[in-house]
Every structure is written in structure tokens, then in C-alpha cells.
């Protein structure tokens, strides 16, 4: 254990976080790209061609499950940051929430589209109004609601507060999505991976977990880029920013 203590509060200030975030971006972006290529290679060339029960379309799972997980994780993270920004008046928290929302919405949309492209050959329908699918659609609307609510209010502090209320209240939807396949009868299959078991062939599991890692790293990199843009847009008049812009 190092005795040197990091002053975390220092990085709660946008002026200090801005250059730190800039340095961290390549540390996440480059491994994300490598993991995407590696995961797809394992998923398409190492995993065996036909699974007895699922046919070839099981290969959609490698991106469907990571996208669905990211949609839920990012929502909780967004609500946490928004809540911290609201409760402690920490403006970086609100900026982080604003930076996470579009990426979360994109992953939720990907999970809905890939799910639909899986449902068509597997169930014979593109969409059913089933608990899992409906609650995921609500998640998507929560993201869109958060983004449009924030952008519709001109006063930044009020926009952050309104967004935080929506984000925090909407968290209730995440456990509903997660447990929906247990609570209600559903066409959607149950959890493939639980703490106790992996109901998948080992190569499939490997491919999926690599892509989960890729999606995480990608999200972190993209959110850091976006939060830097938001800092620049919001703190335009701050002296530290006008001074440091010359270096960028």
C-alpha cells in the first residue's frame, strides 16, 4: 500500500479533471479497439459453426448481451452521477451524467435492434409486448427523456436538477428489466450467465465476455471525450480554459 494519498477532491474540479481525462482517453480507446477485433475473431472463427439448439443466429448474442448490459449499467452510473451532482452541487457530476446519456441510449438501441434481428428467426416475430422487451424500450425512452429534458432548459443548473430527478426516479426500471424474465412469463430466455453458472459453450462465452470488456472500454473512452467537450462548452468563460486552449 502506498502511503502517498491521492486527493480525489482535486479531480472533482473540471479545471483539474479536463487534462486528466485527456490523458486517460487513449488508455481506454486503444484496448477497446483491440478487444473488439479479438472478440469478433473468437466469435466468428473460433466458436464452432453450428450450435445444436440455436442455429447460426446465436452469434448475435456476442453483441446483444454486452449492449443490453451496457444500457443498464450506464443508466445506473448516469443516475449516480446526476444524483451526486444534484445532492452535493458538484457540477462535474452533472456533466458526467450528461456525457453518459447518449452512449447509454445508443447501447440500449443496439440491444433492441439486435434483439429484434434475433427474435425474427428464433420466435418468428420482430417484436412482442413482453415484459423484458417493453421495459428495455422504457429504458430507451428514459434516456431520450433525460437528454431532451436537459437540452430544453436553458438554465444549466435547473436543467441538471430536472434531469437528475428523472434519472434517479427512472432507476427503478433497471431491476424491473433484470428480473422481468423471472417475474413474468416471457418468450425471452432467462439469464445466460449468472453467478453460479454459464449456460454456454466455452468459446461463445469467451467471445461474449471479450466484447463485454470492449464495450466497457469503448464507453469509458467515449464518455471521457464527451465530458471534455461539455466542460469546454459550459466553462467557456473560465480563465483556466481560455489559457489552456492555446495548448490543445
Amino acid at each position: 500500500m502506498s502511503k502517498q494519498r491521492i486527493n480525489w477532491y482535486k479531480y472533482a474540479a473540471p479545471a483539474n479533471f479536463y487534462p486528466l481525462a485527456g490523458k486517460m482517453i487513449p488508455l481506454f480507446a486503444i484496448p477497446a479497439a483491440i478487444l473488439f477485433v479479438w472478440g469478433l475473431y473468437v466469435g466468428f472463427f473460433v466458436a464452432p459453426p453450428t450450435d445444436a439448439q440455436q442455429h447460426e443466429y446465436y452469434r448475435i448474442i456476442f453483441i446483444h448481451v454486452p449492449a443490453a448490459w451496457m444500457g443498464m449499467f450506464l443508466y445506473v452510473l448516469m443516475a449516480l452521477y446526476a444524483g451526486v451532482g444534484w445532492a452535493f452541487n458538484a457540477r462535474l457530476g452533472s456533466m458526467m451524467a450528461q456525457a453518459i446519456a447518449p452512449t447509454g441510449a445508443i447501447f440500449t438501441f443496439i440491444s433492441l435492434v439486435t434483439g429484434s434481428l434475433w427474435g425474427r428467426p428464433a420466435w418468428g416475430v420482430w417484436w412482442v409486448w413482453d415484459a423484458r422487451l417493453t421495459s428495455t424500450l422504457i429504458l430507451m425512452f428514459l434516456y431520450i427523456g433525460f437528454i431532451s429534458l436537459q437540452s430544453s432548459i436553458d438554465d444549466v443548473r435547473r436543467a441538471d436538477r430536472a434531469g437528475a430527478v428523472l434519472a434517479v426516479v427512472g432507476v427503478i426500471n433497471v431491476p424491473i428489466i433484470y428480473f422481468s424474465v423471472q417475474w413474468w412469463n416471457s418468450l425471452h430466455q432467462g439469464a445466460t450467465i449468472t453467478a453460479k453458472s454459464f449456460k454456454m459453450a466455452p468459446e461463445m462465452r469467451t467471445a461474449m465476455l471479450i466484447l463485454v470488456g470492449a464495450c466497457w472500454l469503448y464507453s469509458i473512452a467515449v464518455v471521457l471525450v464527451r465530458v471534455r467537450h461539455i466542460i469546454r462548452e459550459r466553462e467557456q468563460e473560465a480563465p483556466w480554459l481560455t489559457e489552456s486552449l492555446a495548448e490543445i
Partner: protein, 66 residues
């Protein structure tokens, strides 16, 4: 290598549309997200020099209002 030929690989046992559609949309959207962020950065950098003459801008806008 699990595939006998490239055409077998692309047809994916008849499910090529669903599989390539899924991955196509995914990487299209992620690529679009990255491009939009790069464009936003470009716009910010273009605007940056104007920031320094911020006071001058305010004066001209006041004049326009009058």
C-alpha cells in the same frame, strides 16, 4: 478456422441477413458516435479563437441591439 469457404461464412447457414445486420448496425452506430464527437471537437476548436475577443463581441452585439 471453422468455415469451409468464404461463401459459407457470409451465408451463416441462411441467417446472414440477421447476423450481418446486427453487427452492421452496431458498428455503424458506434462509428457514427465517434465521428460526431470528432466533429464536435472540430467545431469547438474553430470557435476557440473567437473566445479570446469575447469582450469585443459583446460590444458589437450591444451596438447591434441599439
Amino acid at each position: 478456422m471453422q468455415w469451409a469457404s468464404w461463401s459459407e461464412f457470409f451465408s451463416m447457414g441462411g441467417f446472414g441477413f440477421y447476423i450481418w445486420g446486427s453487427y452492421g448496425i452496431t458498428f455503424f452506430l458506434l462509428g457514427a458516435e465517434v465521428l460526431m464527437l470528432l466533429k464536435r471537437k472540430h467545431n469547438l476548436t474553430k470557435r476557440a479563437p473567437r473566445l479570446k475577443s469575447h469582450e469585443g463581441q459583446l460590444e458589437t452585439s450591444f451596438q447591434e441591439m441599439q
